[in-house]
């Protein structure tokens, strides 16, 4: 494999990691922008999505299973998120650190539940035939450059979800409410927006997208009880970099984090790439403390 192919491969890897991070972080960023809470159980929504699609594959016919698994993962994780919002997060409104701790408790319980039900080792999902191949460059400077269809599909899914969310926020009535609550919660409330409902909808949507991410992630790696944990810290860093509830910021931040770790891995090990990434984030907030795109406002933030 040539040097260019290695670089291109790593670049492609970075883009596909960035797509997964984008799917995982999108919900976090939206609900953080809207409600100022961090849901530590968000990673477990990936896990829920993964296990739900595993179950769907077992019980549904193979041809239908693929689409069905995506739907089940989305709906299941969204329902889970809605339940979490109604039972827990709503009660802790205005106490972001407490929300963080309580949702961490939920995350631990979910992990242990998965371990008890499915075992600690994890379950495998095989991708449908048309997704299991890969596109390989045979000759020339890029010989050996390999593009697995599964990763291409993940990138396409991330693009689709991002565009869908953008349309939802920019073009629908719910999106209008979301933007209103994001700008000024009290004022939106005063004008008759049902903020509780908006919170619930956005939260469920975000966890549903995480469920989707978990469903496609299952094609790449086995679904384990800790699959959420391994992505969630990076997803948080994406949220920090991207700024509050900004879609474009989240996209850019996911790209930066994905490419940064893929790029750093060429020169150093995975663990040093982590350390470098963290140093980069801390350095970054020296220049832009509220993310790539800061929400403009005159309010004095106490976030």
């Amino acid at each position: 494999m040539g040097e260019y192919a290695l670089l291109a491969g790593q670049l492609f890897n970075g883009v596909s990691v960035a797509s997964i991070l984008l799917l995982a972080a999108l919900g976090l960023a939206l609900s953080f922008g809207l409600m100022r809470v961090i849901n530590m159980a968000h990673g477990e929504m990936l896990m829920v999505g993964g296990y739900l699609s595993f179950l769907t594959y077992r019980f549904a016919p193979a041809r239908l299973g693929f689409v069905l698994a995506l739907i089940v993962a989305f709906v299941g994780a969204a329902a889970f998120g809605a339940l979490l919002e109604l039972v827990l997060i709503r009660r802790l409104y205005g106490r972001p650190l407490d929300t963080l701790l309580a949702t961490w408790g939920v995350s631990l319980a979910l992990q242990q539940a998965a371990r008890s039900i499915f075992g600690a080792i994890g379950v495998e999902v095989t991708a449908p035939k048309w997704l299991s191949g890969s596109f390989t460059v045979k000759s020339g400077a890029m010989a050996g450059f390999n593009l697995p269809y599964v990763r291409l599909f993940i990138i396409a899914l991330a693009v689709a979800v991002l565009s869908g969310t953008w349309l939802l926020i920019q073009r629908t009535r719910l999106g209008l409410y979301v933007r209103a609550v994001h700008q000024d919660r009290e004022m939106a409330q005063a004008l008759g927006v049902n903020t509780g409902w908006v919170d619930l909808a956005v939260f469920a949507l975000g966890t549903g997208v995480a469920g989707l991410a978990g469903s496609v992630l299952a094609f790449i790696a086995p679904v384990t009880p800790t699959v959420g944990q391994s992505y969630i810290v990076y997803a948080f860093l994406v949220v920090i970099l991207g700024g509050l509830g900004n879609l474009l910021g989240t996209l850019l931040a996911a790209a930066v984090v994905g490419l940064f770790s893929a790029g750093a891995q060429i020169f150093t090990s995975v663990s040093f790439a982590d350390v470098l990434l963290l140093m980069f984030v801390i350095a970054f907030i020296q220049f832009r403390p509220s993310g790539i795109f800061a929400a403009r406002g005159r309010a004095l933030e106490e976030a």
């Binding site: 309580a102 995350s107 810290v233 920090i240 982590d274 984030v281 004095l300 106490e302």
Partner: protein, 375 residues
């Protein structure tokens, strides 16, 4: 000194001092371990409970303290020219240069006290000076704990990898396994805890300590009054890191091993639950909570290991939503000099839960509205 709280604390100290006479060697070692962890909890009470800075990466400082001491102890086992066993296994033929200073016990002690505190201070300064805080800080510290533990695991040649450092030599001339040394270690731990407790109590009572509470309850208001909150936050976070490092070093002595499993993301957040159960604002609560949670963990995880994570998840849930003042809330309540505490204990006249939160302290929201207006 007539304060019932002081008397209760002295009684508790007396009871702990007498404990070696009544406990078996195993129980004593367990208690000593938990007392060492309590020192870390004191630091968390000051940063999280009093100043409102939630650190999910306290395992980093704990681990640094533990590893620094473990490096020294590892070297104490070697003859001239030898290198630690795990380095030999992974093909190193000489000691890395940065291991060498740890031959000196004095140097090791100084690094335990200074390096984690300095790192914590630097991190806090970098983050807080740009007015980044709250959940951002919590997440950054969590990422730090993650990076630290993966680094430890991956650099096996230098750190012992997943197994960590164990199989120690003598501690300043004492043999660790000796029962007399174990007893001495217990005394040293108890002494340091008492010292840390007294110092923290004093510190929180000073002007400095009052400002910490003010920063927690309304950082912007503190700014408007002409104070710069940053140095206060940096100082208290560095102090908590120092406490964590001392706790880590003592813990390593008690257990005889330090490994990445004790410093990563999950152990770091477990440290928060000790303080949350104890009552985040109360120093006595921190010690009580650490003892209670760790005893519970020891019991649950030996009887039904798979239940521990469920239990911890439930604890987080319950303590945060229903019981935010924790055990310490009860303790302070019973001993409140005015007797109001007795009523508060059964829920009459108790402070509303929402008051523990950050910006919403004013209940009716007036101050928040004012702060939201243009500045």
């Amino acid at each position: 000194m007539r304060n019932p709280r002081t008397i209760a604390c002295l009684l508790a100290l007396g009871a702990l001092a007498l404990a070696p006479a009544f406990l078996s060697a195993y129980e004593l070692s367990l208690l000593g371990r938990f007392l060492a962890l309590s020192i870390l909890a004191l630091g968390l009470t000051m940063t999280w409970g009093r100043t409102g800075i939630l650190s999910l990466g306290q395992g980093l400082f704990f681990g640094l303290g533990g590893y620094f001491l473990a490096m020294h102890l590892k070297l104490m086992r070697l003859g001239a020219g030898e290198i630690p066993d795990f380095m030999e296994w992974s093909g190193l033929d000489h000691l890395p240069w940065w291991w060498k200073p740890f031959y000196s016990g004095g140097f090791s002690l100084v690094t335990i006290v200074l390096i984690p505190a300095f790192l914590a201070g630097a991190l806090a300064w970098l983050v807080f000076r740009r007015r980044v805080g709250g959940v951002y800080f919590a997440i950054i510290t969590q990422a730090l704990a993650l990076a630290f533990s993966t680094l430890l695991i991956s650099q096996q040649r230098y750190t012992g990898g997943f197994n960590g450092l164990t199989d120690f030599g003598d501690v300043f001339g004492f043999t660790l396994g000796d029962s007399g040394v174990q007893l001495g270690l217990y005394w040293v731990t108890l002494g340091l805890l008492a010292l840390g407790f007294a110092f923290s109590t004093w510190l929180l009572d000073t002007h400095f300590g009052k400002l910490l509470c003010a920063i927690r309850d309304g950082e912007n208001r503190v700014r408007f009054l002409g104070y710069d909150p940053v140095p206060y936050k940096v100082a208290i976070f560095a102090l908590a890191a120092l406490f964590a490092a001392v706790a880590g070093a003592l813990f390593t002595l008690h257990v005889g091993v330090i490994s990445p499993a004790m410093v990563g993301v999950v152990p770091s957040i477990e440290m928060i639950i000790w303080v949350a159960v104890g009552g985040r604002e109360s120093l006595a609560g921190a010690v009580l909570g650490t003892l209670a949670v760790n005893l519970g963990k020891d019991w649950v995880s030996s009887a039904m290991p798979e239940l521990w994570l469920f239990a911890m998840g439930l604890l987080f849930f319950v303590v945060v939503t229903i019981f935010p003042r924790g055990l310490g809330g009860l303790f302070e309540g019973w001993l409140s000099p005015s007797g109001e505490g007795l009523l508060a204990r059964v829920g009459i006249g108790a402070e509303p839960v929402a008051q523990l939160g950050g910006p919403q302290l004013d209940g009716n929201g007036t101050v928040e509205m004012m702060e939201k207006s243009e500045v």
